[in-house]
């Protein structure tokens, strides 16, 4: 058992170093949320005057949680890409013939995802504070917000890890990136639920990402009594449990 934690620790350190190797690889997953936040908050500010938009909230504040969420969402797929690279270049085989608990290979990747979520989220958070976004639930709210983002990031990273383990094809795993867009935009990320067209609203209601975004939004703009907070945690927790179980299942299947 003692070696289980040390194996997890050292494999996590190895994975975490890959976040900034190369440093330039960090740019796209930061550029996209910052770019959309700056452009949309400037160009769509008048949208907050539309009847049905939550009162006393600027459009900038409304989409600030989306920027935080997107920074984490866009980077969570890297775990699968790195895993499939290990498989393609043969390093995975080296890990397979070591006296380690093989589950620590997956846990190391999940730890990397959590660290990257905090890193990228923190960078976007600083930007949001600079432009004047204020967090209504305070420091504790920020801790809760990052906890929710980490849970979701780890769950989402499992999608790419499962495809890495099942297909062992680097191009396919990289192309999984595109499914981020429907999951992100068929939600309340850009407009409140009551302003969405009916079909769009129906899809957003069944899209689990909606509940994470609403949970993050409640932690930024609302207070602890807002049910969207616990709903967000519940959805993130269930997704985490299901996706990690499926990943471990795929991992064990890949070993057979």
């Amino acid at each position: 058992m003692s070696t289980f934690f040390s194996d997890w620790y050292y494999l996590s350190i190895r994975s975490i170093k890959q976040i900034w190797r190369p440093l330039l690889a960090l740019i796209p997953s930061l550029f996209i949320p910052i770019f959309f936040f700056l452009v949309n908050s400037a160009s769509l500010n008048a949208f907050s005057k539309v009847p049905g938009f939550p009162p006393d909230i600027t459009y900038r504040d409304f989409i600030a949680p989306t920027a935080l969420f997107t920074a984490v969402f866009f980077s969570a797929g890297n775990a699968g890409i790195e895993l499939v690279q290990d498989i393609s270049n043969g390093y995975f085989k080296k890990l397979m013939i070591m006296p380690i608990n093989r589950l620590t290979i997956i846990l190391g990747r999940l730890t990397e995802v959590a660290v990257q979520a905090v890193m990228q989220g923190a960078i976007v958070l600083v930007l949001l504070l600079i432009v004047g976004v204020r967090f209504q639930t305070g420091v504790l709210g920020l801790v809760a917000l990052f906890a929710m983002l980490i849970l979701f990031a780890m769950a989402w990273s499992c999608v790419s890890m499962i495809s890495a383990l099942r297909t062992q094809n680097a191009r396919l795993v990289q192309s999984m990136f595109v499914i981020v867009f429907p999951f992100l935009y068929l939600t309340t990320s850009q407009a409140p639920m009551q302003l969405l067209p009916p079909t769009f609203r129906l899809i957003a209601t069944y899209n689990p990402v909606t509940y994470i975004i609403e949970g993050v939004r409640a932690l930024v703009l609302s207070n602890w009594s807002n049910p969207a907070i616990w709903q967000g945690f519940a959805v993130a927790g269930v997704l985490f449990g299901v996706m990690v179980s499926l990943t471990v299942g795929s991992f064990q299947k890949a070993l057979k």
Partner: protein, 261 residues
């Protein structure tokens, strides 16, 4: 109780639907032996060696490494074996020193031993000066040498080598041969698969030649030359396999679950 460090009996591997990569292979290797496993491409050498390190599950048969079996004691086996694979699996986002240290940690070596092993191995494979460079910047020869160093990090009792000098220039090949001779003289058991007859003749105490998933002949170099009335090992190879050296055959290893792209 067997005195052999490797015991393989009636080993078989069939990939779906019915590709028989290995068809009832049996052999044993004594401690300290330098055992060569030869055969044309697609003969089943890599599948056999992958089964011997538990990377591929056998369809049937029995493997014992230093008295341990994978079903019960896989970690005991992993501690005892090193494997330099045909495909050099390096983490290109790490430096050579980082990779060696990580391997030391994952083999649960004490810190002091990791430090001394890292320095010793970097010197052995002549990579001390580039130890802090990312492995992605290494040439083919440097990568092969470093891969050998990685497989030796935990000082295994048995070293498995799958085509360890493929793609190397004569100087780099000679360097690796010298290291392997030294390791074997120090008591390490070495199991080498190769299709270079010159390499097998230069290094191995005993050989088995495999073709179409089966061992077609086995013995010391002298015994094989006498038995097959041949002038050299290449002639033995040609007589027993009917293959031209380097001839491409159906690559049965395509069914290797970790080899898909």
């Amino acid at each position: 109780m067997s005195t052999n460090i490797i015991e393989v009996s009636d080993l078989r591997k069939t990939y779906p639907p019915d590709i028989e990569a290995v068809r009832g292979v049996s052999f044993s290797v004594a401690p300290g032996e330098f055992f060569g496993f030869l055969g044309p491409n697609g003969a089943g050498k890599t599948t056999t060696i992958n089964m011997m390190v538990n990377l591929v599950k056998p369809t049937s048969g029995h493997i014992a490494i230093d008295g341990f079996e994978f079903k019960r004691d896989s970690n005991e086996i992993y501690k005892r074996v090193g494997f330099a694979m045909q495909e050099i699996g390096l983490d290109e986002t790490s430096t050579a020193r980082e990779m060696l240290e990580l391997h030391g940690r994952l083999y649960h070596l004490p810190s002091a031993r990791i430090k001394s092993q890292v320095e010793k191995l970097l010197k052995l494979v002549e990579l001390e000066k580039v130890a802090d460079r990312f492995t992605a910047t290494y040439s083919g020869g440097m990568r092969r040498r470093f891969d050998l160093a990685l497989s030796l990090m935990h000082e295994p009792k048995i070293l498995f080598l799958d085509e360890p000098t493929q793609g190397l220039d004569p100087h780099a090949r000679q360097l690796i041969w010298n290291h392997l001779r030294e390791l074997n003289q120090a008591g390490m058991t070495i199991f080498l698969t190769t299709h270079f007859m010159e390499e097998a003749e230069a290094l191995c105490n005993r050989l088995a030649i495999m073709d179409k998933g089966q061992i077609v002949t086995e013995g010391t170099v002298d015994k094989l030359l006498n038995k097959h009335e041949a002038k050299n090992l290449e002639e033995v190879f040609l007589k027993t396999t009917g293959s031209n050296l380097g001839e491409e055959e159906v690559n049965l290893n395509a069914a290797d679950p970790y080899a898909r792209r």
